[in-house]
């Protein structure tokens, strides 16, 4: 256990002071406390914002609760919106553990969806299970290669991955438009040019009796699998080492380039899967609706979760809930659509600012905590 303490699991904080001794707090508890505090402060700030805009904060918060979690219908609404965010958040979170800041989820979603739709058209007559698998896998591959390109350029050409992945977003959307208006267009899609349909029979269904599609299940599955990979397997070690100090990692014999590349491939595959699910579970074909901003919202979720794949789950649900309540805010309080962006921006800012609290919280001495018991769960 002691060996593991050396490794820094919060990849973007290589300068973290060693605070595991004395009255310092176990990391999991520290993260939960600080995050809860930050959320509380952002709620207060949002309340101030509503007050200054002339709205009763308590009423507005009640509406948000009603729209997001107030009923079974609202819950389903929230979970459906969280589904793509689970996967696009991984696209930023996994490379971030290796020290890369990738913001190209949107492009990977778009191309993943496009490839899934093209694959689906080839598998029109195939058994549903085979067709679905082929579509989802092709989406993963497309997204993985797209983000992998950013990782490759980062490591082998020294190109800044943040900028390259941002540029790749624009390029992916242009490619989608070009193909969907051109050679891939189904002539029957008149006023909304789209690719050919993948066929109703090959569409992904919903979870049980709910209206939540299987994308949510895949999202949870991916988060758990990648959490396991990052926290319980050698690759996760290597990832953390590379993220903490690439030079030291190289000296330790870790293949830095391969680790970076694999992290980008994994992250991209998750975002590509999100795009494929949009096609296979929602639209049935690929068109401009694929660029719906899920990739950008995923960046937010990843940072809120501090790049912990498991923590992505509650934050994606929180964000999905805020988005789900956005419509009700418009209808019940006549608040503009941008309210959701203001709330999200404020939460994001406060959570980022709360990073400075890490290492500063201390327990009163009488608390019988031992620092290493919960180390891994951070």
């Amino acid at each position: 256990m002691t060996d593991q303490r050396k490794f820094n699991y919060r990849t973007l904080s290589s300068d973290e002071p060693d605070n595991l001794f004395g009255g310092a707090m176990p990391k999991a508890l520290e993260a939960v406390l600080i995050t809860a505090g930050a959320l509380l402060i952002s709620v207060l700030l949002v309340a101030v914002f509503f007050l200054s805009a002339g709205h009763q904060p308590v009423e507005v918060f009640h509406t948000i609760y009603r729209g997001a979690f107030g009923s079974w219908f609202s819950w389903q609404n929230t979970l459906v919106r969280a589904a793509p965010l689970l996967l696009t958040a991984l696209c930023t979170a996994i490379p971030a553990r290796a020290g890369l800041i990738v913001i190209g989820g949107e492009g990977a979603v778009v191309l993943g969806g496009l490839c899934a739709a093209v694959t689906g058209f080839q598998f029109l007559g195939a058994p549903p299970l085979l067709a679905m698998t082929a579509m989802l896998v092709s989406g993963c591959i497309a997204g993985g290669l797209w983000i992998g390109l950013s990782g490759f350029l980062r490591h082998y050409r020294g190109v800044n991955e943040t900028i390259s992945s941002l540029l790749l977003n624009y390029i992916a959307i242009a490619v989608l438009s070009f193909l969907v208006f051109g050679i891939l267009r189904d002539p029957a899609t008149l006023n909304k040019p789209s690719t050919h349909s993948i066929g109703a029979g090959n569409m992904l269904g919903t979870l049980g009796e709910s209206s939540v599609h299987w994308g949510f299940g895949f999202g949870i599955l991916f988060c758990v699998l990648l959490w396991f990979l990052c926290k319980r397997m050698t690759f996760g070690y290597e990832l953390a080492l590379v993220g903490g100090n690439p030079r030291a990692a190289r000296l330790a014999g870790i293949p830095v380039g391969r680790v970076i590349l694999v992290s980008c491939l994994l992250g991209g595959a998750a975002a590509g899967l999100a795009g494929a699910i949009e096609v296979v579970a929602v639209h049935g074909r690929a068109n401009a609706s694929l660029a719906a901003g899920y990739g950008y919202a995923g960046i937010l979720v990843a940072f809120l979760a501090r790049h912990n794949p498991l923590a992505i789950v509650p934050f994606a649900i929180l964000l999905g809930g805020i988005q789900a309540s956005g419509g009700l805010l418009q209808r019940a309080h006549d608040l503009p659509d941008a309210t959701v962006a203001v709330i999200q921006g404020l939460i994001f800012l406060v959570i980022l600012a709360s990073e400075m609290m890490y290492g500063k919280l201390r327990f009163p001495r009488l608390m019988p905590f031992r620092s290493n018991t919960t180390l891994k769960a951070t």
Binding site: L12, S13, D15, E16, A53, G99, I101, I103, L153, H155, Y156, R157, G158, V159, N160, T162, I163, S164, L166, L167, L168, Y170, I171, I173, A174, V175, S177, F178, F181, P246, I299, L300, F303, P336, D337, A338, T339, V340, A341, V342, I343, Q344, G345, L346, F348, L349, L352, A353, E355, M356, Y358
Partner: protein
């Protein structure tokens, strides 16, 4: 045949005029980002500054009937957003790229939230200076009808270049960007330097936004910016952190954006989706061609080397 010749020259003039018309906001955001990055910070949130500046400038111009007051207030919002960015990033644990994205979401949200009442009304616009009086051609005159803010930007280019190269304060900015520890050893207050550089950079980006709403295209709505602020970071890499190159890069991006529509206006309309993406492909291509894993980009502030 004569018809097509006129058309071709029309395209050339439109692209040149467009380079200035479309390029001006690029110029402001890239100069702002250039200064910020030379001090050792990346502000990815300039898109938020741009949109906030566009909204605030338009609203103030509408209420006060003075577009220049609008520009001033827009600049003020940029200072404020820049200050938030800089203050949050002062802590070593806080990731400056993430703060930029957060500020972008926040500022865009606030601008859209407060900007609703200003979509409909028309606000007084910034004046332009006609340099084409010598020509009889209305086309040339229109292309040379240049906005006053462009000249402001044009003045800023050598000023910023001189500042960074020769001024004592400019040297302090550069040292802070090259090596924060060295700057500290020299007794420079790195945090303050970066705070001021980020604030000033944010102000320039917001003025670029005011250009969008108060001159070209000259109205406020939620689709006004098509990512000019996000491109700032790429532009600065493109321009090698050099203000003079920022001018050329901005004009190139402006001209590239003008090329598609002007080619279409003479009937060449193949692949305009790809045309629209041309600046991004170009930037990526140049980044790939000029970077190397072994050495950093020429001109890159040392603090960015990981």
């Amino acid at each position: 045949m004569a018809e097509t010749d006129v058309g071709f020259w029309g395209v050339v003039i439109a692209v040149l005029g467009g380079a200035i018309r479309v390029g001006t906001p690029f110029l402001f955001v890239s100069l702002g980002e250039c200064l910020t990055e030379r001090s050792g910070r990346i502000n990815l949130g300039l898109e938020g500054n741009l949109i906030m500046g566009a909204m605030a400038g338009y609203a103030v111009s509408y209420y006060s009937q003075s577009p220049w007051l609008g520009v001033a207030v827009a600049g003020g919002t940029g200072l404020l957003l820049g200050a938030i960015h800089a203050l949050l990033c002062q802590h070593p644990r806080v990731n400056h790229i993430a703060v930029g994205i957060a500020l972008m979401i926040f500022a865009t949200g606030v601008a859209f939230f407060l900007g609703k009442p200003f979509i409909q009304p028309s606000a007084p616009q910034l004046p332009s200076i006609g340099l084409g009086g010598w020509s009889d051609s209305p086309v040339v005159r229109a292309a040379l009808d240049i906005n006053a803010l462009f000249f402001l930007g044009l003045l800023l280019v050598p000023a910023l270049h001189w500042f960074l190269k020769y001024a004592r304060w400019g040297l302090m900015v550069r040292v802070a960007g090259e090596n924060a520890n060295a700057a500290l050893a020299l007794g420079y207050k790195v945090k303050q330097i970066r705070l001021l550089a980020t604030m000033f950079g944010g102000m320039l980006a917001s003025i670029g936004g005011a250009y969008l709403s108060l001159y070209y295209p000259g109205s406020w709505n939620e689709g006004l910016s098509s990512g000019q602020g996000l491109m700032a970071v790429a532009l600065v890499i493109f321009a090698r952190w050099n203000p003079i190159y920022c001018l050329w890069a901005s004009l190139l991006f402006g001209g590239a954006a003008a090329l598609g529509p002007s080619l279409q206006s003479i009937g060449i309309s193949w692949g305009y989706f790809l045309f629209n993406a041309a600046p991004y492909v170009l930037t990526l291509g140049i980044m790939i061609a000029t970077s190397s894993a072994k050495q950093t980009l020429a001109g890159m502030p040392g603090e960015f080397v990981k």
